[in-house]
Amino acid sequence: MSAHWPLPVIGFGLFAAAPGEKLPEDLEPFIELPGKRFRKLGRFVRLGLAAASRASRSAGIERFPSARTGIFLGSGLGNLPDLFGFAQAAHDLTGELMPSPIQFANSVGNSAAFYIAQAFELSGPVLALSQEEVSFESALISAACLLEANDIDLALVGALDIFQPDEVEHVQRMGYEPPLTAGEGSAWLVLARPGSEWDTPGALGSIQLAQMSAVGDPSQLLESTPQGEGASLWLNPRLAPLWERAGGRTRFDPKLAFFPTGNAGAICAFLQEPGGSGTLHTLVQGRDGELGHIAVERRG
């Protein structure tokens, strides 16, 4: 799957908590929502808005081209807090909780993407994907497909995962065992269509490759990634046994252990690191064997 790549990265935004900690409740999005409804939204949506607005600011874009911008949001677990909150209120045996219809509407898989599109006044394709630990890869590949087909000129590609209700259950829901450390966060890249007016020499770097498969051999994949100076590597917790074979590569540990979409956070942290040019490869494996690989180049 190489036809779409590379894709210029012209901005990024990241909000991530330290492992084991929750993000603050009072996140500010840096953007106005119609009717100033931001504070009525749940944490999942607010976190996505906050990080996406950072990405737009990083790209220096005040107004996205409405029909020529797409949103592609990958989330491993989705908006469980709103879903469970509504369910518990609807089945409340004490009569203390009132079910909120808007909480039900906000629990759909594409709610965060909806509010981000609304805030940026977008009318192009707005997709939400959920593919366990290859969610960010699936969002990137979907974005690349529509960029290449000239449906859009810009793509906001994001990742978003939060605890429901806490770190321990977050870890268990993903099929890991405590005491594995997890975090929560949201990370976004702004990608430009090669050859479009947004594809300028000032790009921060590029996505060289994003690929995934239902099953695969992570060892073989690791061997195919470059070693030596300037080569960094990020592996998800399921691939921890491969660290010993990482060789001369920097074991890039941005302390952004939020997953299943933690690789997106690692990419943003890599892009904002001071220093010269370099490459980062993220490798992830899901519990059912699915394998993902993203290669990112940072310009000096």
């Binding site: 799957m1 989705g78 079910p99 219809p101 594409n110 909806f114 590949i141």
Partner: protein, 380 residues
């Protein structure tokens, strides 16, 4: 490049496969029946697969059964199965089974917790791909009621671009108490009947469905997936713009991308949920695009119920099966036009194997709006 719809399989309130669906749709049957409330809730009309709750039937088994059915129909061997990319659309995934377990715990005063370890909505695709023996990419689109419409468009795009060799598009949604409660609290659930495009429509009714379509490049089969378009309507998270401008725009863009003139559209498989807002928006969009006399159009939700994320896959399969039999299916539940002269099919419309191009619409929560086109080579 030609993208063929090589095989289709589906399971709904009418049963399994083409014959069951053709018979029910030709005779105008309604699969929506009054059922005991899900998990202790009030009784609601809904369209279930069989008599049991589908959560008890296990969503994973329904999905695997439907996938195996489409693979056997296409006669794919192990090597071809390895190259099948999976494009899933769902709003519930494996969650229905988890909800049942939670409700048992809830009655005992315990909180919902992660002991199911069922992951997110993408877990279903990961498990299915593993059982299928696929080594190809997998995508789970979670754009509410448009999930499998998005999956179909993206699958066709990635096949056409040579990024995947063949695509299995699967839609699955079974009834969950959360969904029924949610639509009731939003006052979108009709207790009197699903009446798409009717003057007196007052809401949707939920159904269960599982459907799969196999897309491949080349081929000489009867149905060709042309292209589609995806757009966003920011009006409200639970309803599109009443003037239908986004819906009209996405239909026009899908036709432009498919290089089909509006005068060449044979018929339209409408989204037609039976809610006042959706149907008003879609009717206005049809008028914007086609004027006062649009091509024949029909909604299948009065017959099959609204199967949410599975609806586009299920309704596409059912529509194509009706074409094979030589007719367009009627809109069950429709009686009186909301706008004079603008009404869906009341009776099956014979096409008798004429070639044509069919437009498919899907709109939903979260503002995602999708249209796509399928060419029917016909039998004449």
């Amino acid at each position: 490049m030609r993208i063929e719809i090589r095989a289709a399989a589906a399971l709904s309130c009418f049963g399994e496969g083409p014959e069951a669906h053709r018979l029910a749709l030709r005779t105008g049957r309604c699969g929506l029946l009054q059922r005991p409330g899900h998990s202790g809730g009030p009784a609601l009309p809904c369209a279930r697969i069989g008599d049991q709750s589908s959560a008890e039937l296990r969503p994973l088994e329904l999905a695997e059964h439907t996938l195996q059915s489409v693979l056997e129909q296409a006669g794919l061997g192990p090597a071809e199965r390895r190259s099948c990319a999976l494009f899933l659309g769902t709003t519930t995934g494996l969650s229905a089974t988890e909800e049942l377990l939670w409700l048992e715990q809830h009655r005992l005063g315990k909180p919902w917790h992660a002991n199911m370890r069922s992951g997110g909505l993408g877990r279903l695709a990961a498990v299915l791909a593993s059982r299928l023996g696929s080594r190809a990419p997998l995508f789970t689109y979670t754009t509410a009621c448009t999930s499998t419409a998005v999956a179909l468009v993206m699958a066709a795009r990635l096949v056409r671009a040579g990024q995947v060799e063949r695509a299995l598009v699967l839609g699955l949604d079974v009834l969950m108490g959360i969904a029924a409660d949610g639509f009731r609290y939003l006052q979108l659930y009709s207790e009197t009947g699903c009446r798409p495009f009717d003057r007196d429509r007052d809401g949707l009714q939920l159904g269960e469905g599982c459907a799969a379509l196999l897309l491949e490049k080349g081929g000489s089969g009867r149905f060709e997936m042309l292209d589609g378009a995806i757009a966003h309507d920011s009006s409200h998270i639970a309803s599109g713009s009443s003037d239908g401008r986004t819906a009209a725009g996405v239909m026009a863009e899908a036709m432009r991308r498919s290089r089909v003139e509006r005068g060449s559209i044979t018929a339209i498989k409408a989204h037609g949920t039976g809610t006042p807002a959706n149907d008003l928006s879609e009717l206005n969009a049809l008028t914007k695009i086609f004027g006062e006399r649009p091509p024949p159009f029909s909604s299948l939700k009065g017959a099959l119920g609204h199967t949410l994320g599975a609806s586009s896959a299920l309704e596409t399969a059912a529509w194509l099966w009706c074409l094979e039999e030589g007719f367009l299916p009627p809109t069950v539940g429709f009686a009186n036009a909301a706008q004079p002269g603008l009404e869906p099919l009341r009776q099956p419309l014979p096409l008798d194997g004429r070639p044509g191009v069919h437009l498919f619409n899907a709109f939903g929560f979260g503002g995602t709006s999708v249209s796509y086109l399928i060419r029917d080579r016909g039998t004449r």
